[in-house]
């Protein structure tokens, strides 16, 4: 069996009386693109937040590269190589695209207050490295021409890509994408699928929360289906598509997603 990069065991998160995530086991293999799907409110984003350290777990453990990281805060997990994007875009709106990407390199670079005041040669060299890498990350996602534009002034689709550039710039071991295709048109979604493939080819393992089934089915190696906070099914995309329980979870309810998003 291939090596697991990330493992969650019995992971639970309660909000008051509601179990948003309920005893979920998850195993993400190194080098995989692992999809997390499920109807609205199934707990996908909550699970992502538990992995990223943005929310504290109620029960269960998370381990990353064999180390128990359950009690680590978000910054420490980011430093260790877990990066994420946000479903509802959390960019630094007043900063340029290039500066946004450069923040992704904060962990892993070192110059502090005194180095900045003295503008030591090491500090200046580090600044050059930071911006060169940030620029490469922008080009990687296709935002090379937007480096100087304030993030808040970018068109919507470009903002989604900038979120990805900021998460990818440090070339983390694990990247968590929270509905990166939300609001994109078919062409943009197809480009995104290719980008996700290239991120994996660059050596990052990907966890992808997504409603857009074309994207999920075309790029994922493994798919986990959540429903009411519990794991409903798991397997290869083709297996998931045939799974009767999954189809019922999506189609057997009044609030099923629109047909474009439903299983093909």
């Amino acid at each position: 069996m291939p090596e697991a990069l990330l493992e969650a065991a019995g992971l639970s998160r309660r909000f008051g009386g509601l179990a948003a995530v309920d005893a979920v086991d998850l195993r993400v293999e190194r080098g995989a693109i692992h999809g997390l799907i499920g109807p609205n409110g199934a707990g996908k984003t909550t699970l992502l937040n538990l992995i990223a350290g943005a929310l504290a777990v109620t029960r269960g453990t998370v381990s990353f590269r064999g180390a128990d990281i359950t009690r680590w805060d978000a910054a420490r997990r980011a430093q260790a190589g877990i990066r994420r994007t946000f479903q509802n875009l959390k960019l630094f709106a007043e900063m340029s695209a290039l500066e946004n990407a450069s923040i992704g390199l904060h962990a892993g670079t070192h110059a502090g207050i005194f180095a900045a005041l003295a503008r030591t040669p090491a500090q200046r060299a580090e600044e050059e490295r930071i911006f060169a890498r940030a620029r490469r990350a922008l080009e990687f996602v296709g935002l090379g021409g937007d480096a100087g534009v304030a993030a808040g002034k970018l068109p919507y689709g470009h903002r989604r890509l900038l979120e990805i550039a900021r998460a990818f710039v440090a070339e983390p071991a694990l990247i968590l994408l929270d509905e990166p295709a939300a609001g994109l048109n078919q062409t943009e979604a197809a480009n995104l699928s290719r980008l996700i493939g290239r991120i994996r080819d660059a050596g990052c393992t990907v966890v992808l929360v997504e409603h857009h089934m074309d994207v999920v089915m075309s790029v994922c190696d493994q798919v986990t289906v959540l429903n009411y906070g519990r794991k409903l099914a798991e397997g290869r995309p083709a297996e998931i598509q045939r799974d009767a329980q999954v189809i019922e979870a999506y189609l057997g309810r009044g609030d099923a997603p629109p047909s474009k998003h439903a299983l093909a």
């Binding site: 980011a78 007043e94 900063m95 923040i103 892993g108 207050i113 900045a116 580090e126």
Partner: protein, 316 residues
């Protein structure tokens, strides 16, 4: 001209003009007022880092300003320490005291503002009531003039140049910080704390560092003030002084170092200029504040930048 270069040249011109001012032999009182502008600007620059860069609203900067002033005054008047030692000690003591703020950096917005205000009130009461140390309501007298390398800066011109040099040094230092990894990270914290954390920024640590830097700078400003006026009273450091420093930063323009300096000039000089209108001066001052805030968040600096825009190309 590129906008960053235009700004840099403007900064250089302003500094040169300030340094050359004594050549025109202005009245002693004018030099004194401009020294007070430079001192206030220094304190405001510290708050600009805290509020404008990192987004933490403090209404307690007078506490650190007062601690710096009294520390410097006491060290030189009672212990006979040279000015330069007392000056840096004032900054360090204010910075060390600011470490008590570390637990409250997890507060934001109004809660943080009230907590810092509470601290300002506490420090005022200590200055007023610990008579054995501070002289209480009678104040602290006999503070010597600033001196450098054994030379007492007796002429108002030299005292003025000292204040301008310190303000300029703080300005340029904070400019370097603003354009560094640290500066970008605190800017990121202000704009979106969750996203900063997700990038590996240690939010609480960096916020605390901002408090310490702002306190250090306020302490330096306090020291300059002590040796400029040479008599300290607790009433110089009430929460009203904290509010004044806040006004300087906000009307000058949030996030702009140049704005903090302009704001200090307005807050120090306008009431002085309005002295002739007597009782109505604070009324007019208040009205001016309201009008300036109508320019928007950019304050005076933002307004000037808009005026200069036709002359500068945007950064590529």
């Amino acid at each position: 001209m590129e906008s960053a270069r235009l700004k840099r040249s403007l900064t250089g011109i302003v500094l040169l003009a300030l340094a050359a001012l004594p050549l025109f032999e202005p009245h002693q009182f004018v030099l004194h007022m401009l020294s007070l502008v430079a001192i206030s600007a220094t304190a405001a620059l510290g708050l600009q880092l805290l509020l404008g860069f990192s987004g933490q609203l403090s209404i307690g900067q007078a506490a650190f300003y007062g601690i710096g002033a009294y520390a410097s005054g006491l060290l030189s008047a009672k212990l006979g320490m040279p000015f330069i030692v007392a000056f840096f000690a004032a900054g360090v003591i204010a910075a060390v005291v600011s470490l008590v703020m570390v637990p409250i950096t997890r507060l934001t917005g109004a809660a943080l503002a009230v907590a810092t205000l509470g601290f300002s009130i506490l420090v005022y009461l200590v200055l007023k009531n610990e008579e054995w140390l501070t002289g209480g309501s009678f104040g602290l007298m006999g503070i010597p003039r600033a001196s450098l390398f054994g030379y007492v800066l007796a002429k108002p011109t030299y005292a003025y140049l000292l204040c301008v040099a310190v303000a300029a040094g703080v300005y340029l230092s904070l400019l370097r910080l603003q354009r560094s990894r640290f500066g970008r990270a605190i800017n990121a914290i202000r704009q979106n704390e969750d996203a900063a954390r997700a990038c590996g920024v240690k939010v609480t640590l960096l916020k605390s560092q901002c408090f310490v830097i702002a306190a250090f700078v306020a302490g330096l400003a306090g020291s300059l003030y002590a040796h400029q006026v040479r008599y300290l009273a607790p009433t110089d450091f009430t929460f009203w002084k904290s509010v004044e420093i806040l006004i300087m930063v906000v009307i000058g323009g949030m996030g702009s170092l140049f704005g903090a300096v302009l704001g200090a000039a307005v807050v120090v000089l306008v009431p002085e200029v309005l002295r002739e209108v007597g009782d109505y001066r604070m009324l007019i001052f208040g009205a001016i504040l309201m009008v300036v805030m109508l320019f928007g968040e950019g304050g005076i600096a933002g307004f000037l930048e808009q005026c200069l825009r036709p002359f500068s190309k945007p950064r590529a």
